[in-house]
């Protein structure tokens, strides 16, 4: 670690991992409810467990992005963080707000939570992924602004690199687009139209900037390849991400009341969305093959290369599977969407956060460059356990989705939703088993932090 203030990333990373554990536990609960319908009912209804599962994901990724920024921006800018104190205060504010919100979901009925938090004054609740009480949303905005201020001030007083510029654009875009979570007109079509400005333009827009810049940072650090080359291709990748992804929003505007020309434009542009992800895979492996050194942190390199492959498969290939309007007409809102969502989030965003944690944590914890080989072996086992089980989760959900589409949508004598669900049980059981293996992988990951090993790997 080159600058003392980089250490403020540590609580962000630790808390992110804690929320990650919670996310997986609630994922297993809702997975179980898919096969044993009344599991934990009425104590934890499906919708509550699901919003805990998805909201924990979003929040821990945000913690991960913030930790990543606090770690890499001082190093890139070659200066201490503008205000480590502000970073620490915002950590506690965000953590407290996050915990209070999750407890609110679990302890009181959602309608009561809406009432308690004054949802009628500025109704923003009850929309997928944006279930947070309005006051929590305001808190998120404040935390993001404080965080951005801290990062921008750091960059302004130090060296400006392409990595930090793109990271800041991504983070600023994230904060700006989140403001659309406050747009909730009575007209459902408009509500949905602008809801996607948060959801789609986050994950298939500005978050890709954050992903690409963190990946570029890790590649610069671990391969020793000339920064000029890495930054040039970074520009190309994010250019393609935005060129395809912005109009690609149209793949959400097929069937929600929006004009039918979106079917054409949404199909064309979102069919090109795999391109930047494919380029990212080629980019990561090319740079790795040109490496000027063998970095002792093999686990971090594995996560970085892994994210480039899994993001391409999850976001690119599985996104393309159902993105063309004539296909999507039948698959829209089936388990195909769930399959894509799982692998895309894991591949693109979970893995990049785990990659930067893997790279940064040993340094923050005072190691020269990496954990001991023993600790890395545990970490790499967790990589394979989690990644392979996520592949299987995706395959099983895809199987469920294909059968569901056939029985409920394509067939001449379509079955009802619930009758169809009964036919999908075997896939849901297999998915739950794969989910349990994922949890084992996560436990192995946690253990890896406590493996000492007899010898420090040298830099």
């Amino acid at each position: 670690m080159k600058y003392a203030s980089q250490a403020v990333a540590k609580p962000y990373f630790i808390f992110a991992i804690m929320l990650f554990v919670g996310q997986i536990l609630f994922g297993l609960i809702i997975g179980m409810q898919y096969v044993i319908g009344d599991f934990l009912f009425p104590e934890i209804p499906f919708n509550v467990a699901r919003m805990v599962h998805t909201n924990l994901l979003i929040v821990w990724l945000l913690f991960g992005f913030m930790g990543a920024s606090y770690f890499l921006v001082p190093e890139e800018s070659e200066t201490e963080l503008y205000s480590p104190l502000l970073a620490k205060i915002l950590f506690w504010v965000f953590a407290a707000a996050g915990v209070a919100t999750i407890l609110g979901y679990l302890l009181v009925p959602y309608a009561r939570l809406a009432e308690m938090t004054g949802n009628d004054l500025l109704p923003t609740m009850g929309r997928e992924f944006l279930e947070q009480p309005t006051i929590t949303k305001i808190g998120i905005v404040i935390v993001c602004l404080g965080f951005l201020f801290n990062i921008v001030m750091t960059v302004l007083k130090g060296r400006k690199t392409v990595v930090t510029m793109i990271l800041i654009m991504g983070l600023a875009g994230l904060s700006l687009l989140f403001l659309f979570s406050f747009v909730n007109p009575d007209n459902l079509v408009l509500d949905k139209f602008y809801w996607w400005w948060v959801v789609h333009l986050w994950v298939e827009g500005v978050w890709e900037l954050i992903l690409a810049s963190i990946l570029a940072f890790i590649l610069i650090k671990t391969t020793g390849v000339d920064r000029e080359i890495i930054e040039k291709w970074l520009y190309v990748i994010i250019a393609m991400a935005l060129i395809t992804g912005i109009i690609g929003t149209g793949h959400h505007y097929f069937w929600i009341g929006t004009p039918e020309y979106w079917q054409l434009w949404g199909s064309i542009f979102s069919a090109m969305e795999p391109i930047p992800f494919f380029m990212m895979t080629v980019y990561a492996f090319n740079i790795y093959n040109q490496r000027k050194r063998e970095h002792p942190n093999k686990a971090a390199v594995l996560w970085a290369l892994g994210t480039s492959v899994m993001a391409f498969l999850g976001a690119g290939v599985w996104g393309f599977l159902h993105t063309l309007a004539p296909v999507n007409y039948y698959t829209h809102g089936t388990q195909i969407t769930a399959a894509h969502g799982h692998m895309a989030f894991y591949g693109a965003y979970v893995m990049i956060v785990l990659a930067i944690i893997s790279y940064a944590m040993p340094l923050i914890r005072g190691k020269a460059a990496a954990n001991s080989n023993q600790a890395q072996v545990w970490e790499m086992w967790s990589f394979w356990l989690m990644t392979v089980s996520m592949v299987f989760i995706t395959l099983f959900l895809t199987g469920a989705g294909i059968l569901q589409t056939w029985l409920q949508r394509v067939s001449d004598t379509p079955m009802s939703f619930m009758a169809t669900q009964d036919q999908l049980q075997i896939f849901y059981w297999l998915r739950e088993i794969a989910g349990a293996v994922f949890l084992i992988g996560l436990v192995v990951y946690l253990i890896s932090f406590f493996i000492k090993g007899d010898e420090e790997a040298s830099a």
Partner: protein
């Protein structure tokens, strides 16, 4: 070095030469120019969509009751289990077309009868909505079913 590796090296050299002519500032310009261009195109399309929407969403039919129904929909997190026009959770049936599929009285009676408490079956909570609130939910679902969704879903099962 195997033949494959040699071929790989040759291709790599060619790519290197190509990539040297292609400079970082060119890449940067593609990023800024391309992104800005498509942001503007997207805003233009948004404007056009805004103009065309009234004919497709029949917003003149959004009464106070429909708006109230949407709020009840949100404040009970219905989308946490159901999908609405294909968006939401996939645990319970699509409700964008539930009004033509089941009709208003059925929807109300159904919600009042929950939960079924059938062992092993998926359970819908009892939300304890008043008669007036149930009517508002039905009005909201009726209006939603009348949105022009380009013929989605493919059949009445949603």
């Amino acid at each position: 070095m195997t033949e494959t590796q040699q071929n790989g090296t040759t291709i790599f050299k060619e790519v290197t030469i190509m990539s040297e002519r292609f400079t970082k500032s060119m890449a940067r310009n593609i990023f800024y120019g391309g992104s800005l261009f498509f942001v503007l195109v997207f805003l233009g399309m948004t404007l056009d969509t805004q103009r065309k929407l009234p004919k497709r969403d029949h917003r003149e039919n959004i009464t106070e009751q429909v708006a109230h129904g949407k709020r009840i929909w949100e404040e009970n997190d219905c989308v946490g289990c159901h999908s609405l026009l294909g968006e939401g959770a996939y645990f319970a049936p699509e409700l964008g077309n539930v009004y033509p599929r089941r009709g208003g009285p059925f929807i109300k009676a159904w919600m009042q009868a929950m939960p079924t408490n059938t062992p092993g079956r998926r359970q819908m909570p009892q939300f304890n909505l008043s008669e007036e609130e149930l009517d508002a939910i039905v009005a909201f679902l009726k209006w939603t079913s009348e949105i022009n969704t380009a013929n989605w879903p493919p059949n009445k099962e949603g």
